[in-house]
């Protein structure tokens, strides 16, 4: 039976109203077909491509174009972007806000990226901050946080979080298990700080829909740092305890708030950390290691099945 047939039956039985039937059947028949995601994705790619091109042009034609042309060009684009956003923005609200139009979010994102390019150029050419140049990252991230909250822009929030990570010396795109000894404490502080800010702002009722972005980034950085600590062989038990504690929190809170991605983080990272520690002096193709993988894998599956049975296909 097709969904349209079911809709007709529900309408006749009074389970749905005629208005609901009209609205839903229009979508099912594809009489209204949204290209919202496709337009957004193309605009995002357009912005990324544009900024990458600007950086490449500056790098290639630095000597030909000259500082004045480059700086005035970047400043002009920057001013145009930000003035567009400030002139069209809706008043601030601590709740979720719809963008005034499709381009708005991406123009703001473009402005932020151009700002980053301009700062990097200024420092490279004029060495204004000398060895303290990394404070540009802190300053940029504070600015991006402000703009993300003012204009309710999740792309800029992600940019702010990754720029803040840069100030801590981290790179979010990098495989987290490879954090070196010197970097691990910074990663842990960053993760705790980001999670705390996210939770605190959530409790204050400010842009609650941003909280998950904070928590996803913080959890991945924290889990990665803790596992790298277990691998590194210096006080591994301490890192293992931390990892198991964090995995427990992620699993319990994930179940409590029905955010199953965090349950998956807890199970996967917890298992990886535990296995790395237990199998560190054992060959992976030995009988002991393979038996461990079978038994422990079964335990994980059994507990996950119990969980899955409780929550069914709930998303």
């Amino acid at each position: 039976m097709t969904i349209l047939t079911r809709l007709e039956q529900w309408k006749e039985s009074g389970a749905i109203t005629s208005m609901q039937f009209d609205a839903i059947s229009e979508l099912v028949r594809k009489d209204r077909f949204s290209v919202f995601f496709e337009l957004n994705a193309l605009f995002y790619l357009g912005v990324l491509s544009f900024v990458a091109g600007v950086a490449w042009v500056i790098q290639t034609y630095l000597s030909t174009l000259g500082d004045t042309a480059i700086l005035s060009g970047l400043t002009l684009l920057l001013c145009l972007s930000f003035s567009y956003c400030f002139s069209r923005a809706l008043p601030y609200s601590p709740g979720q806000m719809e963008s005034p139009n499709l381009a708005f979010d991406y123009v703001l994102y473009l402005g932020c990226l151009l700002f980053a390019v301009e700062l990097a150029y200024l420092e490279t050419r004029f060495h204004l901050m000398q060895s303290e140049w990394d404070y540009y990252l802190l300053f940029s991230s504070v600015l991006f946080f402000g703009l993300a909250y003012r204009f309710d822009n999740r792309f800029v929030l992600s940019l702010a979080l990754s720029t803040l990570a840069g100030w801590f010396g981290l790179r979010i795109s990098r495989f987290a298990f490879s954090y070196g000894e010197s970097l691990r404490p910074y990663a842990l502080v960053y993760g705790v700080l980001v999670a705390s800010i996210g939770i605190w702002l959530h409790r204050c009722g400010i842009k609650k829909h941003f909280t998950e972005t904070y928590l996803h980034i913080a959890s991945n950085v924290l889990f990665g740092a803790l596992i790298s600590g277990i691998i590194a062989r210096e006080s591994p038990w301490l890192y293992l305890m931390g990892l198991l504690g964090l995995a427990g929190i992620a699993t319990v809170e994930g179940i409590r708030f029905r955010r199953f991605a965090f349950v998956a983080y807890g199970v996967l990272y917890g298992y990886i950390g535990m296995s790395v520690r237990l199998l560190r002096n054992v060959r992976i193709d030995s009988t002991a290691a393979l038996s461990y993988l079978i038994v422990s894998g079964m335990l994980v599956i059994l507990s996950t099945i119990l969980l899955a049975r409780r929550f069914g296909s709930e998303e």
């Binding site: 290209v35 010396g169 349950v263 393979l290 996950t304």
Partner: protein
């Protein structure tokens, strides 16, 4: 042939739609609860995250069990290895059947991992047997056998359980077969292109005949994947091998035509999967055009591409918005369902991990030598 009844799968699809309509404010929660109750099925399901966890750990257990058997019994001989993996493949398939019939598992992760394991183990078994029979056969005979068995078993799993990714894997294996034969590079690509075109035409015609959402949704993804595969095989800048002459220029023409034809077909019947694939193909064509012509890329190329994309989106959006009820030919730039927003939220969160590489200042004496590098707005690894 299919392990699940069409009625059950239609009900599952309808339940999914009801949840989406409720989230999008088209139904009250009380209504959706009542409608979902009407659509109850005896299939055991779980959400995608737990499904993923179950899939991974079942795969881990399967791999460890097979390796343990090989280690304990010291199965060095290829024939013994072939027998073991073959028996294991059949056992896991039997286990899969048992789980589905007895526990009614449906997209639960565990049974899916068994299905994948069965196909992989049967392929390994076939390859091991082939390597004992190799003799003087030309080409990569064991790989050829493995790909043939892989394609057949993955296709069988798709037909039996409806896993679309199994159909996708079957296509990849089948596409790999000509590359294991002692044929010229042109003939290899031609054979793969012909096979993928056949898949596209056959499955798409089924989709057009099948008005219902299930299995119409499967028939949407498979031809789109075949179309993408066809493009990948024909775009010589994306894949390995050196080809010149008329075939090279033939593929150049094709990489321009395929996205246009795909878009045209997709827009006519509002086929989202094919539309998205064709748009991606169009972008890749623009990105690989210069290398195809032997021209060097210029620094301003990405700027032009960016401006083109932004201008195209703004123009299209305005044109659609100015239509009656903000739509033209049924297309609207307005968000209708929350699924679109969720996808965008995912992209924006994930964007933290792939910010564009903005060159960082070079003067940083006296700073600690962090091994992680810099990221985000003003931080990366390059220098002006």
């Amino acid at each position: 042939m299919r392990r699940y009844s069409a009625d059950d799968e239609e009900r599952v699809t309808a339940q999914f739609c009801i949840r989406e309509w409720e989230r999008s404010g088209l139904l009250e929660s009380s209504q959706s609860a009542r409608l979902e109750a009407e659509l109850q099925v005896d299939l055991r399901r779980t959400n995608n995250f737990l499904r993923g966890v179950l899939f991974l750990f079942t795969g881990l257990i399967v791999a460890a069990s097979v390796l343990l058997t090989i280690t304990v019994f010291d199965l060095d001989d290829e024939l013994l290895l072939a027998t073991t993996t073959g028996i294991a493949g059949i056992l896991f398939f039997a286990l899969l059947e048992c789980l589905v019939s007895r526990f009614r598992l449906y997209r639960f992760g565990v049974e899916e991992a068994f299905a994948v394991a069965a196909a992989v183990l049967l392929s390994v078994s076939g390859a091991a047997i082939a390597s004992t029979l190799r003799g003087n056969r030309p080409g990569e005979f064991p790989a050829l056998v493995a790909l043939c068995i892989g394609a057949l078993s993955a296709f069988g799993i798709y037909r039996r359980f409806g896993y679309v990714y199994a159909a996708f894997a079957a296509m990849i294996c089948a596409a790999g077969i000509p590359f294991q034969m002692a044929l010229s590079a042109e003939v290899q690509r031609f054979l793969v292109a012909a096979m993928l075109t056949l898949v596209f035409v056959v499955v798409r015609s089924k989709r057009l005949q099948n008005a219902s959402e299930h299995p119409g949704d499967e028939y949407g993804i498979i031809p789109a994947s075949a179309w993408a595969g066809l493009y990948f095989v024909l775009n010589l800048q994306m894949s390995f091998g050196r080809i010149e002459g008329w075939f090279y220029w033939g593929t150049y023409v094709m990489i321009w035509f395929l996205p246009i034809i795909g878009l045209r077909l997709a827009l006519r019947v509002k086929d989202r999967a094919l539309m998205d694939v064709s748009l991606a193909m169009a972008l890749v064509t623009l990105a690989t055009n210069k290398p195809y012509l032997g021209l060097s890329r210029q620094p301003w190329d990405p700027i032009l591409l960016g401006i083109f994309l932004m201008a195209a989106v703004i123009t299209l959006r305005r044109w659609l918005s100015k239509g009656p009820d903000s739509r033209r030919y049924g297309f609207t730039p307005v968000r209708l369902l929350t699924g679109d927003s969720r996808l965008l939220t995912f992209v924006s969160t994930a964007s933290a991990a792939f910010q564009p590489e903005v060159p960082a200042p070079t003067s940083a004496p006296g700073k600690p030598d962090f091994s992680g590098g810099r990221s985000g707005g003003a931080g990366a690894s390059g220098s002006f």
